[in-house]
């Protein structure tokens, strides 16, 4: 018993053990990624059928298909009540295994690595997986066949031909399509049409008008412009880069995506940063840096904030806090200079919400067919109906009764016509660069508005990514 009563020894070994317990935080990295290095082995046997006019993707009509949907702002009803029934109607013998989760990476990533992938995955939400890394690891199915296949319900057209321009390119990595970006989001300056009408404020199209209006709004005791620095700085990055795109065409943004040296220090970016930095200095409430997007959006609903840069999901997100008199409307970002290469109506509208078929699943062809169903006009129309967001399927919103905000977004799109541009992809391709842009834009807007510093800092970060051989590179043209 002597070794137990030796208290000095006991206490010291206890301390050491205490230290070891604290260290348990470190191995979480290895633990949580699970199944390290998996996915390199041969895929499981995959189901295929014979291709025909009725079965252009050549799926096995009897093979089950498994889909995983992100359960977020869009809900899951569009999948369970619309897409699956349409799919089942066409392929009654193929069982659809449906599941939904709020944590895509937690649920799906270990399964991809273990070679037990679901067939179709909706990669979205705060815990979305790095899609570039999935493509690089060969886990995503090449969707060339899908986009070349005839449309599900538009006769005489291929799937690609039924989509808005740029939709296929948006999900392409190094020239090959791997993802369907399904929803179509219009970005711009959101405001309350009722408030503007009441004060007879007109929506500005030039920067001088914008500044003049901001002065008027400020005089009325309302914060003219604001965004949430705490967790929504990417809305501001988008505003700034949209302005840069309007000054110097989408090529400016393509250069940024391609990590071209000098892309961030280009005159168009500097010009846009200067213009926005001034807005930040004069018209932004500095305390917004500490606020979350919901808090700032609520202020707009209370008419304490006039302009808010955001995407067209805003109206739906705020539905329960919006007073009945509040009518969401969107305006294109005003032209920064008189020599902007794109017109004042030019708008940034991007496809988003990734859906992909897994190449290592048991039934990738079934996953692709499910995507073809989603891209049918019928399914897209119901999607807009249920989720209040537009899709990349052209004209699918026709006949759907749209809310004021979505109507305004649709009008802005029509006004922009061919000058609606997709924008940039570096934020999803290079997450680290994206994070740097959030810090840099907050610094620009809240801490003094030094445009040159913003450009130099982003340029340095962009070149650091370009030189990092462990980061998988993407290009676009």
């Amino acid at each position: 018993m002597s070794h137990i009563t030796n208290s000095e020894l006991d206490r010291r070994s206890l301390l050491r053990r205490a230290a070891a317990v604290g260290l348990a935080a470190t191995p979480a990295v290895g633990m949580l990624s699970a199944c390290v290095g998996g996915g390199s082995e041969e895929p499981a046997k995959q189901a295929t059928g014979t291709k025909s006019a009725d079965n252009p993707l050549g799926l096995d009509p009897k093979a089950p298909v498994e889909i995983v949907i992100f359960d977020g702002g869009l809900g899951t009803k569009y999948a369970t009540d619309v897409d699956t029934p349409i799919y089942k109607k066409k392929w009654p013998e193929s069982e659809v295994k449906f599941s939904a989760t709020q944590e895509i990476a937690t649920v799906v990533q270990p399964r991809l690595n273990a070679g037990d992938a679901p067939d179709m995955i909706n990669n979205s939400g705060a815990k979305m997986m790095d899609f570039g890394a999935i493509v690089a690891a060969g886990q995503a199915q090449d969707l060339t066949d899908l986009f070349a296949a005839p449309s599900f319900d538009v006769p005489g057209k291929t799937v690609a031909e039924t989509l808005v321009p740029g939709a296929v390119e948006w999900g392409s990595y190094n020239g090959k399509p791997y993802a369907v970006n399904y929803s179509y989001t219009v970005f711009g300056l959101w405001y309350n049409a009722t408030l503007f009408e009441k004060n007879s404020w007109t929506v500005p199209t030039t920067w001088a008008d914008f500044i003049a209006l901001c002065d008027k709004i400020k005089a009325a005791g309302i914060v003219p412009f604001g965004y949430a620095g705490n967790n929504a700085a990417y809305y501001m990055v988008r505003a700034l880069l949209t302005s840069a795109g309007k000054i110097g065409t989408e090529q400016v943004l393509k250069d940024i995506d391609n990590l071209k040296p000098g892309a961030w220090t280009a005159p168009a970016v500097l010009e846009a940063a200067k213009a926005w930095g001034e807005v930040g200095n004069k018209y932004l409430d500095k305390s917004f840096l500490g606020l979350k997007h919901t808090e700032v959006q609520l202020r707009q609903n209370q008419d304490k904030l006039a302009f808010y840069p955001c995407g067209s999901w805003l109206e739906n997100e705020q539905a329960k806090d919006t007073p009945p008199t509040f009518k969401y409307a969107v305006a294109a970002y005003p032209s920064v200079t008189t020599s902007d290469k794109l017109g004042a109506a030019a708008i940034n509208a991007a496809a988003g919400e990734i859906y992909f078929a897994s190449s290592k699943g048991k039934n990738p062809r079934g996953g692709m067919e499910y995507l073809r169903v989603m891209l049918s006009k019928e399914a897209a129309k119901e999607f807009t109906n249920l989720t209040k967001s537009l899709t990349v399927v052209t004209g699918a919103a026709e006949g759907v009764e749209l809310s004021p905000g979505l109507t305004s977004a649709n009008e802005a799109l029509n006004k922009a016509g061919k000058e609606a541009f997709m924008g940039y992809l570096f934020d999803t391709w290079y997450k680290k660069l994206n994070d740097e842009s959030l810090s840099a834009v907050n610094d620009l807007m809240f801490k003094g508005g030094d445009a040159q510093k913003f450009c130099d800092r982003m340029e340095a970060a962009s070149q650091a990514v370009a030189k990092d051989s462990t980061v998988q590179k993407q290009t676009r043209s």
């Binding site: 050491r16 604290g22 290895g30 991809l112 790095d130 620095g229 907050n442």
Partner: protein, 299 residues
């Protein structure tokens, strides 16, 4: 009965040791393995030697995060232990001696329970609540106390103060536990020692420094190590409370936050593992150093 000893011990230890080996030791080994690879989290592994550590050496954010961990490591134990000692002294000895029994100040039994409350709350909830307390606009609790005409303090949105806000919450959360721990320690100090000192005319301050502190040294040492390890973490608060998670502009970034981001957001599991290995050695060094430096002969 000696021949039954080993099966008996093995029977008790097999399950916990196996669990520990699989879920802790194996994961550590794997972290070390991954730290010399460029693994993204998907697909096959490629070995890159020491490249991750080289990159880390040149990473400005790493040094910044390390400084922030250092700041917490320096201040969290000192402030927490000082406050906890002060409170537990008041609770146990502060009331002076009456009828040969030392007692705490009036109502100390109630205070002891109240002090422990923060310990019962999940850290995530604490972070959300203090997010409201430190909110940078007038809706925040602290800013709400200011006169309406004043500009709000930016607090979490001010890079000079953001990390201090985190420190305050960490201290608030941990003080209660150490009050209880030190109280228990003080309870085991013999009455007669206090009585003797009292008869010799020692005041409260002398009692504290000459009697309580030396006899409590071992407990304080334990507390110091625990708090130091907590200072190496701070992930939950930084993740939930701070602007842009680790901001503004990296002003509250800590190593654990960097590990999380590199693993789950940048798909750089190899690099994150290298950071994990560094954190492992830092924690180990800290624990060893603390044990050595604070070693004292038994009183």
């Amino acid at each position: 009965m000696r021949h039954g000893k080993y099966p008996f011990i093995i029977g008790f230890l097999a399950v916990p040791v196996a669990l520990y080996a699989i879920f802790v030791v194996a994961a550590y080994i794997q972290t070390f393995q991954l730290s010399v690879t460029s693994w993204s989290g998907f697909g096959p592994i490629k070995y890159v030697g020491m490249a991750n550590f080289e990159k880390l050496w040149n990473d400005e954010l790493f040094w910044k995060s390390l400084r922030h961990n250092g700041y917490l490591l320096l201040l969290l134990p000192i402030v927490t232990i000082a406050l906890a000692l002060f409170f537990s002294f008041l609770l146990n000895v502060g009331g002076g001696t009456r009828g040969g029994v030392t007692r705490g100040i009036w109502g100390s039994k109630v205070y002891r329970v109240i002090f422990f409350f923060p310990q019962l709350m999940a850290l995530a909830i604490v972070a959300v609540i203090f997010g409201r307390v430190f909110s940078s606009d007038k809706s925040g609790m602290l800013n709400g106390l200011l006169p309406a005409s004043w500009d709000p303090w930016l607090l979490m949105a001010d890079e000079r103060w953001a990390l201090t806000c985190i420190l305050v919450v960490l201290v608030w959360q941990s003080v209660g536990f150490y009050v209880v721990l030190f109280s228990a320690g003080m309870g085991s100090i013999g009455e007669e020692i206090y009585e003797a000192a009292d008869l010799d005319g020692a005041g409260k301050i002398t009692l504290f420094f000459k009697i309580t502190l030396p006899l409590l040294w071992n407990t304080i040492q334990t507390g110091w190590i625990y708090l130091g390890i907590a200072a190496f973490d701070a992930f939950a608060l930084v993740n939930i409370m701070t602007v842009d998670r680790g901001g503004p502009d990296g002003a509250t970034s800590v190593l654990a936050m960097m590990i999380y981001r590199n693993t789950f957001e940048y798909s750089q599991v190899g690099y994150a593992s290298a950071l994990g290995v560094v954190l492992f050695f830092l924690t180990l060094t800290f624990a060893a150093l603390t044990l050595r430096v604070t070693r004292r002969d038994a009183v």
